[in-house]
Structures are given as structure tokens and as C-alpha cells.
Subunit: 211 residues, 2 copies
């Protein structure tokens, strides 16, 4: 394994555990049993490490979000899709717990974060289009834009919401709860089928969290 | 005006302008043309200043959120109510822009922040109950809990969302847009009246932002 990758792996683990603000480049070097000078040879400080980690995150998100067009056709497909997106975000959760702060602190990151937001927006738009084409949902155009906003917001602030609420759920439990929260926002636009879909979603959630 | 209040007023202005992390107690003393020792006589550092400001915020929110029971009966009442809540939050916006960070950094604040969340939750619950009693909306019990969650999340992360999106809207514009975003989430549960209510809300929003 390349030293560069080892540095990134350990950094991600530490940032997720202790938060970005709590750690210096020296802490990262110490955790790797590496001299600060050797770390510096690979990364000129904490910021390039964070940017390289964001690069990994971007690549993963692009694969997941751009790969879906047309493939997500049923409620169950959607459930799995949202689960995968959240799981990927969870792997890089330090970016999301204090997203406002990080974006303020690293302007280069802000731009790239907005691109990820735009990717999320397009993926949700495309999934809703499929559901509409299959007559699985119907929604006023103005409400549709607001719904997409809400869904993007859910995908972006679920980890901050959890920090603020302090519920102390496990990662998988938090992800399952958030998938449900995401999906329930679509139910009111499913017309007469909505009630049955709701029951299926709640049943699925029960199975997932008791598994 | 008491020195204590002057310190808090200036601190609030500075925190809102530059963010909490960017300022020290010495910066605050400088802005007041006061010696750090004199500031220290009133507040033993930055944390007690932040706690005192949160005390002000709590008091204002309690007055607004606990005062509504039964008073919010029409869509227009609701619009005004949400506007007032957001305006109050905007006055203390530094607490909300990086809410995850502040809660992590000041554990005493986290507890009190959760109490404000609980107040928001109760106020929304009570407003929805009034709308239900007047047959202005009807919602499945399970979706109701999820909707309240979403609405609390909107009231909590609208400022972080704006930071992340970087839209650079004026305060009043951002507040009007957020009221609309909040209200549109209730529309799908208004049945046949929903379409007319939606038109009224959009018209109201247009008037507000062009005023």
C-alpha cells in the first residue's frame, strides 16, 4: 500500500472519530508513527490532506449519483439507492457534521461541495422523473422544485441534525432512519397508492433496524 | 445602557459578521474600546458571553414559540408566525450557521439548544393540530411525525443550507424564501384546497420579495 494512501486512510479515520478541527498534521504523523517531515514530503499540511480526501469522496459520489439514470424504477430500488448514497456520505462523515464550518474555512472546498450538491440535485431530479413517467407519483411543478430542495437538504444535513439532536444512534441505524425520512417525503405525491407504499416502507424500515 | 448589555450587543454583531470562531475576547474588548481586564470583570472569557447571548435567544424564542397556542388559525397567520420565528433566529444567526460545530464545542450549549429544538417541535405540533381541527389539513399519523421532523430541520438548517449553497441573498430575501419553503411542505396535506393555497402562498411570496 502506498504511503500516500495510508496517510489518507488514517486521516479519514481520525477526522471521522475526532473531528477535523481537533487534529493537526502532527497528530496525523504521530498516529502513523511517521516524522512530521516525512508526512510533509507527501502532504504540505492538513489542508491538502482534506482536499485529497474530498477528491476521493467526489469520485465515489460521482460514480453513485451519475450511474443511476433510468436504473431506479421501484420503491425498493429507490430505498437501496438512497441507502448507498447515505452510506458513502457516512464514510466521509466529518465533511458533513459541521458542513457550514468547513465550507467557510476552506473556500476551495466550498466550490467542490457545491458541485456535489448539484450532482445530488440532478440525481434526485432524474429519479423523480422516472417515478413520474411510470405514473408512480404526480406533483405540481412548483412543489416539485421545493421537494427537490428538501430532499437535497435531507441528504446534506442528516448528520448535523443527528449531532444537534444528540440521539447517539449507531451508523447503520441512523442511515436506515434517514432513508425512511427521505422516502416519506415522496409519499404524499403518490396519490391513492401512497398508503400502501407507506406501509411497505415502514415494514422495510422495521426489518432493516431489527436485522 | 449597562456595560454588560453593551458588551453583549457588540459581541452579537461581531459574531454574526465574522463568525464565532474568528473572534477572541480581546477582539471584543478592542471593538468596545475597553481593556481586556475591564471586559474580564464582566465576563470571564468568550464562553460566558456566548452563553449569555444564548440566554437572550432562548428568552425571545420562548416568548414567540410558547405564545402561539390557538392563535395561528389561517395560512396567513402561519406565514407571519414562521416569519417571526425565522427573523428571531436570523438576529442570532451565528448560532445557526455552524450549529453542529457550536454544539460540539460547548456541551452546555448543546443541552440548551436541544430545549429550543423541543420548543420548536411543540409549537409546530400545536399549529398542525389547529389546522387539522379546522379541517384545513389531514395527514396520516406516521407521516405527521416525519413532517414535524422535516419542519424542525428546515427551521434549524436554513442558514447552514444558505452557507453551503452560497447564494448570497439578503437577510429579508432569505427569510421570505425560507417561509415559502416551510409552508410548501404543508400543502400536500391540504387535499383539494391545496392548489388554491399554493397559489396564495406563491403570490404572497412574490409580493414580499418585490416589496
Amino acid at each position: 500500500m502506498k504511503t500516500r494512501d495510508r496517510i489518507l486512510d488514517i486521516s479519514l479515520t481520525l477526522f471521522n472519530q475526532e473531528g477535523e478541527a481537533a487534529l493537526s498534521a502532527v497528530d496525523i504523523a504521530n498516529a502513523l508513527d511517521m516524522s512530521p517531515g516525512n508526512l510533509y514530503y507527501h502532504f504540505k499540511g492538513k489542508e491538502p490532506i482534506i482536499e485529497a480526501l474530498f477528491g476521493r469522496f467526489e469520485d465515489e459520489m460521482a460514480i453513485i449519483l451519475n450511474g443511476t439514470h433510468g436504473a431506479v424504477e421501484s420503491i425498493e430500488d429507490n430505498w437501496v439507492f438512497v441507502y448507498i448514497v447515505l452510506e458513502e456520505i457516512y464514510d466521509f462523515r466529518f465533511f458533513y457534521r459541521n458542513v457550514g464550518e468547513l465550507v467557510g474555512q476552506y473556500p476551495a472546498l466550498a466550490k467542490r461541495f457545491r458541485k456535489v450538491l448539484a450532482m445530488k440535485r440532478r440525481a434526485i431530479d432524474s429519479v423523480l422523473s422516472v417515478l413520474e413517467q411510470r405514473n408512480m407519483m404526480s406533483i405540481d411543478k412548483r412543489l416539485r422544485a421545493a421537494l427537490i430542495d428538501q430532499l437535497v437538504s435531507t441528504l446534506t444535513f442528516w448528520l448535523s441534525f443527528d449531532v444537534v439532536e444528540g440521539t447517539d444512534r449507531s451508523g447503520p441505524r441512523l442511515i436506515h432512519d434517514t432513508v425512511l425520512r427521505f422516502m416519506l417525503q415522496i409519499v404524499p405525491y403518490m396519490g391513492a397508492d401512497g398508503q400502501a407504499v407507506l406501509e411497505r416502507m415502514l415494514e422495510r424500515h422495521r426489518q432493516m433496524v431489527s436485522a
